[in-house]
C-alpha cells in the first residue's frame, strides 16, 4: 500500500475542508477501500476518516422517516433500526460478516455504489433521500451506474433518510466466494405503490424493476409477477452466474421477498 497522511476530523465542516484538498479521499469503515488500497488500485495522498464525526453517527426517527448517519456501522443499523424498519435492519445484519459490520458504514457503501452491495437496493426501493454536506439527492437521481453516483468532488454523505413502507423485505442470494449479493432484491410496499430495488444483477448497477412494481402495486403477491420475465440483456454475466441465471434470480427472489414482506 502506498503511504498517505491520515486525518480524522471531528466535525462536518473540518471534514469538508480536509476533503477539498488535493489528493484527499474520504475513508469511512474502509472495508472496501482498504483492500483496494492494498492492491494499489487506489492511492490517495490524504485519507480523511469520517468515523470520528458525532453528527454522522446514529439511527433515529425524524422528518421524512428514519435518519441514519452516514458513518453508522451496519451492526448498529441492524440493531437500532429493527423496531422502525425491520427489513432494512435485516439487510444491514446480512452484509458481509460480523467483523465487516462492525466497521462498514451505510455512507461508505452507497458512496462506493458497488454493483453487488446490498444497501443501494434498499435506498432505491425505499425512495430514500441521500443528504450530503451540500444538498439532498433523491435515490432515483443518486445511483448512476457501476461505482458511479451523483456525488461531486469534495461532496460526502451526511445521512440517509428512509421513508418507512407498510411492508418490505430484502432477499439476498450470496455470491459464493465474496458473500456479496449475486443478486439481491428489496421490495417496499408504500400506500402509493410498490418499489422494487435490485442489486447484483444489472450490468449497469442497482436498478428498479418497474414491470414488477406495476404488477405488485396492483396485487402485492408472489403470483402477481409469475407471468413476468426479466430480460437477460440487461443482466451481468460473470464467473458465478450468467445473465440468464441472474434474470431468473431477480424474479425468484422478488417473489420470495414479496412472500416474506
Amino acid at each position: 500500500m502506498h503511504n498517505f497522511d491520515f486525518v480524522k476530523p471531528a466535525t462536518i465542516a473540518d471534514a469538508a475542508k480536509a476533503l477539498a484538498g488535493d489528493g484527499a479521499q474520504a475513508l469511512s469503515g474502509g472495508q472496501t477501500l482498504i483492500p483496494t488500497m492494498k492492491q494499489r488500485l487506489a492511492a490517495p495522498g490524504v485519507l480523511v476518516s469520517l468515523t470520528g464525526i458525532a453528527e454522522m453517527q446514529g439511527v433515529c426517527m425524524g422528518d421524512g422517516g428514519l435518519h441514519i448517519g452516514a458513518a453508522t456501522p451496519h451492526a448498529v443499523v441492524a440493531r437500532e433500526a429493527a423496531k422502525h424498519y425491520p427489513a432494512l435492519a435485516a439487510l444491514a445484519g446480512g452484509i458481509g460478516d460480523p467483523a465487516v459490520r462492525s466497521r462498514g458504514t451505510i455512507g461508505g457503501s452507497i458512496a462506493n455504489n458497488d454493483p453487488a452491495a446490498c444497501y443501494p437496493s434498499a435506498v432505491l426501493a425505499s425512495g430514500a433521500t441521500v443528504v450530503t454536506n451540500k444538498r439532498k439527492i433523491a435515490a432515483d437521481d443518486y445511483f448512476q451506474g457501476l461505482f458511479t453516483t451523483a456525488l461531486e468532488e469534495g461532496e460526502f454523505i451526511i445521512e440517509v433518510v428512509f421513508p418507512i413502507p407498510a411492508k418490505a423485505a430484502y432477499v439476498k442470494f450470496n455470491q459464493p466466494a465474496s458473500r456479496f449479493a449475486l443478486t439481491g432484491v428489496f421490495v417496499a410496499k408504500f400506500a402509493n405503490g410498490v418499489r422494487v430495488g435490485v442489486t447484483g444483477a444489472g450490468n449497469d448497477g442497482v436498478f428498479r424493476w418497474s414491470d414488477a412494481e406495476k404488477a405488485l402495486s396492483a396485487d402485492f403477491s408472489a403470483g402477481a409477477i409469475a407471468g413476468l420475465k426479466v430480460d437477460p440483456a440487461g443482466m451481468n454475466t460473470d464467473l458465478h452466474g450468467s445473465a440468464a441465471y441472474r434474470a431468473n434470480l431477480v424474479k425468484v427472489l422478488t417473489q420470495r421477498a414479496v412472500s416474506a414482506a
Binding site: 500500500m1 503511504n3 492492491q39 494499489r40 442470494f173 459464493p176 466466494a177 465474496s178 458473500r179 449475486l182 464467473l239 458465478h240 452466474g241 450468467s242 440468464a244 441465471y245 431468473n248 434470480l249 425468484v252 427472489l253 420470495r256
Partner: protein, 792 residues
C-alpha cells in the same frame, strides 16, 4: 468406557494450549535480528519472453539492499521432479528445468522472474513495482486448454517440448488389448466424460521463508512453511544451491496447514538463502494471499473419459479411462506421480473387476504448477469410478447399494491383487456399506424426502464406496515405479536419565496432532505417562531423517518407525535390567513399565532402568553400553489401504439451483485407532474439503492465462454455513496386516470419498424431481450450474 490414556484414548491435544493463547510460532511470527525483507516480481502475463530487466532504478531506491533476476541463478540447479514416469512407448517423461527465478521466459501469471531485498517490506514492495515497470516482456500466446496444447506444436510452454506433453502413460499397458476386447464384447457400456476441477489448496497460513547465513561457520538456516523439511534440505542442498547438507539446517516451525501444497520445495526458499549469503543478513519473505493463489502448487485438474462395461445385472467387466492431467508450467516435486501411480493404480476401486486400463496424458500449460492436494490422485480415481457406477445404475435401473455390494472384493479374497497392480492386504467393504446404510437410516429416506418436498426442496441421496492407498510407502515398490527417493521414515527415542522421553520424528505435524498422538503410543508401549513424552519434529538438526507428512503416512510409516525404536528401547532396557537384577536377559519380561525377572518378585521400574543407563557405575562395558537412545528407520512392506462408504443427502432449491448438504455420513475402516477424537477431526476436515470441491471451489484461467479466481472474492472457500455436522463412524476396523500398529491412515479419506457422494446425491435429487435429462453436472455443482442443468 472411553479410555483416558495411551493408545485409543481421546487425549486432548497439548499443542492446543499455545495455539489458543496466541503463542504458536509460525514462520512469519519470527523476527530475526537484522532481518531484511524480500519481495518477488511476478509475471503478469501467462507466457512471455523476457527481453530485458533494467535493475538500476530499483537498486537505487531507498532501503534496497539487493536485486536478483533469473540471470543470477542460471548456473545453479533446477528444482527436480521426484518421480520419473515413462511413457507407453518407453520414453522417459519430458523434464524441463524449473529455475529459482524464471530465466529467458515466464511461463505463468505469478511466475517469479526477479526479487528485491530491502530494509523494510514496504521498500522492497516499492522497488519490486519499479522493477516490474522496468522489465520488458514480450507476451506470447498463452497455452491454457489441455487438448489445444497437445494438438499444437508451434506454441510451446517449453521450447524444447514440441507437443507440450510430459508423458503418455498407460497402466497397465499389457492390459490394454484385453480391456478393449472386453468392452467391445460387453452387454452394457456406460460412458461418462467429466472434469475433476482444479483447486487451490489454500492452507490458511500463506507460505513464508526466512534465510540465514552464518559467515563465521559457513552454515545456513532456512525457516520455512514446510510439511517436509528434510526433503527441502535435500533438494536445496543437493540439487539447487549445492550447499553441503551438513551446512544447512531446515526448520519448519508451527505450520498453518499444508494439504499437499507445502510438501514441495519452492524457489522462494532458495532465494532467501542465496540473498542471506550475499548480504550476510537474514532475509524474510511472506506471501500475500494473492501470491499464494498465483504461486502455490494447485491440485486436481483432470479431464477424463471413463467407460464402465458390465453385465445387465451390474456385474463389472471392465473400466477404461482416458485422462488429460494438467501439470501447469513446471514439474513440481510430486506432480508426475500424482496423476499416475496415485491415480491409475486405484482405478479398480474396492471391486473385483477383472479388466482395468488407464491412460493419462500429462500436459504442460501456462498455469501455476499442479501437484498433490489432499488425496492426490485418489480423489480423481474415486470420483471417476463412483460417478460412472452411479450413472450405470440409473441406465440399467439397478440399486446403487446392491450393485456395489455385488462387486465388492469379499473378505475371503484378501490379500487381493488388482488388475492395476496393487495388493490390498485386508478390508471389509460390505461391513462399511452396511454401517453407513444403518447410521444414515437409508430406510427412512422417503420420509425425509417428503419433508423436504413440503418445504419446496428436492432431496437426494448419494453413495460412494472407496479405497485408497496410503503410507506412500514401500521403497522397493516405489523405486520400481520411478521414485527417486526412498519413502521410509525414521524416529529416535531418547530416554533421558530422569526417565522422561524425547522422540525425534521425521513426520511433521501441521494440524494432525502428532505432539499428542505419538506420546500416546509411547505411553502404552513403555508404561509411562503421556505427559513425560515430548515430540520433536520439523528441525533437520534435531531429528535423524524424515520424509515428512503427506499421503496419510505419519502414523503408518513414521509412527511405526517410532514403534520399532521403542522395541529397541525395551530390548536395551531388558539388558540393563538383567545386569541390575543379576538375571539372564532371556528371563526378563517387560510390562506396565516394569522390567521383572520371570517367576520372581524382582523388578526394576522403567525410571530406575533409565537412570542406571546414564549412571553406569558397574556396567560390563564390553557387553553393555551406557545410555538409552535408539533410532529406527521403517520401510513398509506395502501401502496401507483405508476404505469406506460415504453417504450424502442434499436438498436442492429448484428456483435458485442452490444445493445444501443436509446430512453426511461416513463409515470408515482405518484399521486400529490411536486417538478417536483426532481421527474424527481428520475426517471432518477432509469431508469439508470434499464438499468444497463438489459444491463451490473452482479455479479459472481465462484464455490469456489470467487467473480469474485469484482471491477469496472469487475463489469460493467453504464456510461454516455451507456444511452440516458430519456423522463419522470408524467401528469397522480391519487392522493393517503388515505394520505392528495395525494403522492405515485417515488424513485424506474424507477428501477422497466425499465428492462423488455429493454429486451423486444432487443428480439423485434432480432425477427424483423429474429432471430426467440431467445425468451429470461437473463440479463444482454450483447454483448456476444446477439451475442451468435443470433449465438447459
Amino acid at each position: 468406557m472411553p479410555k483416558d490414556h495411551g493408545i485409543g484414548a481421546p487425549s486432548k491435544r497439548r499443542e492446543d494450549i499455545r495455539f489458543l493463547t496466541g503463542r504458536g510460532v509460525y514462520t512469519d511470527d519470527i523476527t530475526v535480528h537484522g532481518q531484511a525483507a524480500a519481495v518477488f516480481v511476478r509475471s503478469t502475463v501467462a507466457h512471455g519472453r523476457i527481453k530485458s530487466i533494467n535493475t538500476a532504478k530499483a537498486a537505487a531506491m531507498p532501503g534496497v539492499l539487493a536485486v536478483f533476476t533469473g540471470e543470477d541463478f542460471k548456473d545453479v540447479g533446477g528444482n527436480p521432479a521426484g518421480w520419473l514416469i515413462k511413457s507407453r512407448n518407453g520414453e522417459p517423461m519430458r523434464e524441463p528445468k524449473r529455475p529459482v527465478l524464471a530465466h529467458g521466459k515466464v511461463r505463468h501469471v505469478g511466475d517469479a522472474y526477479a526479487a528485491v531485498v530491502a530494509e523494510t517490506y514496504a521498500q522492497a514492495k516499492d522497488a519490486a513495482q519499479q522493477l516490474a515497470d522496468d522489465s520488458v516482456i514480450e507476451e506470447l500466446p498463452a497455452i491454457i486448454d489441455m487438448a489445444a496444447a497437445l494438438a499444437n506444436s508451434s506454441n510451446r510452454v517449453h521450447d524444447e517440448i514440441p507437443d507440450n506433453q510430459c508423458y503418455d502413460w498407460g497402466w497397465i499397458e499389457d492390459n490394454r488389448a484385453k480391456v478393449d476386447a472386453a468392452i467391445k464384447a460387453a452387454p452394457h457400456v456406460t460412458t461418462l466424460e467429466l472434469v475433476n476441477n482444479r483447486l487451490v489448496p489454500n492452507a490458511m497460513e500463506p507460505r513464508a521463508s526466512i534465510g540465514e547465513y552464518f559467515p563465521g561457520t559457513g552454515d545456513y538456516k532456512l525457516t520455512t512453511t514446510s510439511q517436509n523439511p528434510h526433503l527441502t534440505r535435500l533438494l536445496v542442498a543437493a540439487f539447487v544451491l549445492g550447499i553441503p547438507e551438513n551446512k544447512l539446517t531446515v526448520v519448519a516451525p508451527d505450520v498453518g496447514g499444508g494439504f499437499g501444497s507445502k510438501i514441495y520445495h519452492y524457489g522462494e526458499e532458495a532465494l532467501v538463502l542465496a540473498a542471506a549469503k550475499k548480504l550476510h543478513r537474514p532475509v524474510k519473505w511472506t506471501a500475500e494471499r494473492s501470491e499464494s493463489f498465483l504461486s502455490d502448487a494447485h491440485g486436481r485438474d483432470h479431464v477424463t473419459k471413463i467407460e464402465l462395461a458390465c453385465e445387465k445385472d451390474g456385474t463389472f467387466i471392465a473400466f477404461r479411462t482416458e485422462t488429460m492431467a494438467n501439470v501447469g508450467a513446471y514439474l513440481s516435486n510430486f506432480s508426475t506421480v500424482t496423476p499416475t501411480f496415485l491415480h491409475g493404480t486405484l482405478m479398480a476401486g474396492p471391486y473385483k473387476v477383472p479388466n482395468v486400463y488407464v491412460n493419462v496424458k500429462t500436459v504442460f500449460t501456462n498455469t501455476a504448477p499442479v501437484d498433490a492436494y489432499r488425496g492426490a490422485g485418489r480423489p480423481e480415481a474415486t470420483y471417476s469410478l463412483e460417478r460412472v457406477i452411479d450413472k450405470m445404475c440409473r441406465e440399467l435401473g439397478l440399486d446403487p447399494f446392491e450393485v456395489r455390494r455385488k462387486n465388492f472384493i469379499t473378505t475371503d479374497m484378501f490379500p487381493y491383487t488388482t488388475p492395476v497392480a496393487l495388493a490390498y492386504d485386508t478390508g471389509n467393504d460390505p461391513a462399511t456399506l452396511d454401517t453407513v446404510m444403518q447410521i444414515a437410516d437409508v430406510a427412512g429416506f422417503e420420509k425425509r424426502a417428503a419433508a423436504s418436498k413440503a418445504k419446496g426442496k428436492l432431496r437426494g441421496m448419494g453413495l460412494s464406496t472407496w479405497i485408497e492407498a496410503c503410507g506412500i510407502a514401500p521403497s522397493h515398490l516405489v523405486g520400481i515405479l520411478g521414485a527417486r527417493v526412498g519413502l521410509y521414515d525414521a524416529a529416535t527415542v531418547r530416554v533421558n536419565a530422569t526417565g522422561n522421553i524425547s522422540v525425534m520424528v521425521g513426520a511433521h505435524s501441521h494440524g494432525q496432532g502428532h505432539e499428542t498422538v505419538f506420546p500416546q503410543i509411547v505411553a502404552s508401549k513403555l508404561g509411562v505417562p503421556e505427559s513425560s513424552v515430548e515430540i520433536v519434529h520439523g528441525d533437520t538438526s534435531k531429528i535423524p531423517f524424515g520424509m515428512g507428512s503427506y499421503g496419510s503416512r505419519s502414523l503408518a510409516v513414521c509412527g511405526v518407525a517410532m514403534d520399532k525404536a521403542l522395541d529397541k528401547i525395551v530390548a536395551k532396557g531388558k539388558k540393563i535390567a538383567a545386569h541390575m537384577l543379576e538375571a539372564s536377559e532371556s528371563d526378563i519380561t517387560f510390562a506396565d513399565g516394569r522390567f521383572s525377572v520371570a517367576g520372581t518378585d524382582k523388578a526394576k521400574t522403567f525410571g530406575e532402568i533409565a537412570f542406571s543407563a546414564y549412571v553406569p557405575h558397574n556396567y560390563p562395558l564390553e557387553t553393555l553400553e551406557p545410555g538409552l537412545e535408539e533410532t529406527a528407520f521403517y520401510d513398509p512392506a506395502n501401502f496401507t489401504y483405508p476404505a469406506g462408504a460415504y453417504l450424502c443427502e442434499v436438498e436442492v432449491d429448484e428456483g435458485t439451483g442452490k444445493v445444501d448438504v443436509v446430512a453426511f455420513h461416513c463409515a470408515d475402516d482405518f484399521g486400529n485407532i490411536m486417538n478417536p477424537m483426532i481421527v474424527e477431526g481428520q475426517v471432518h476436515g477432509g469431508v469439508g474439503q470434499g464438499i468444497g470441491q463438489a459444491l463451490c471451489e473452482f479455479t479459472t484461467y481465462d484464455e490469456t492465462g489470467q487467473l480469474l479466481t485469484g482471491s477469496y472474492m472469487d475463489y469460493p472457500m467453504p464456510r461454516a454455513e455451507d456444511v452440516p455436522f458430519y456423522n463419522v463412524d470408524y467401528s469397522c476396523q480391519t487392522p493393517c496386516t503388515h505394520n505392528p500398529l495395525g494403522v492405515k491412515g485417515c488424513g485424506e479419506a474424507g477428501a477422497i470419498g466425499s465428492p462423488p457422494a455429493v454429486v451423486n446425491a444432487v443428480i439423485d435429487a434432480l432425477q427424483r424431481g423429474g429432471h430426467k435429462h440431467v445425468t451429470h453436472i461437473d463440479m463444482p455443482v454450483s447454483p448456476s450450474r444446477v439451475w442451468s442443468a435443470i433449465n438447459g
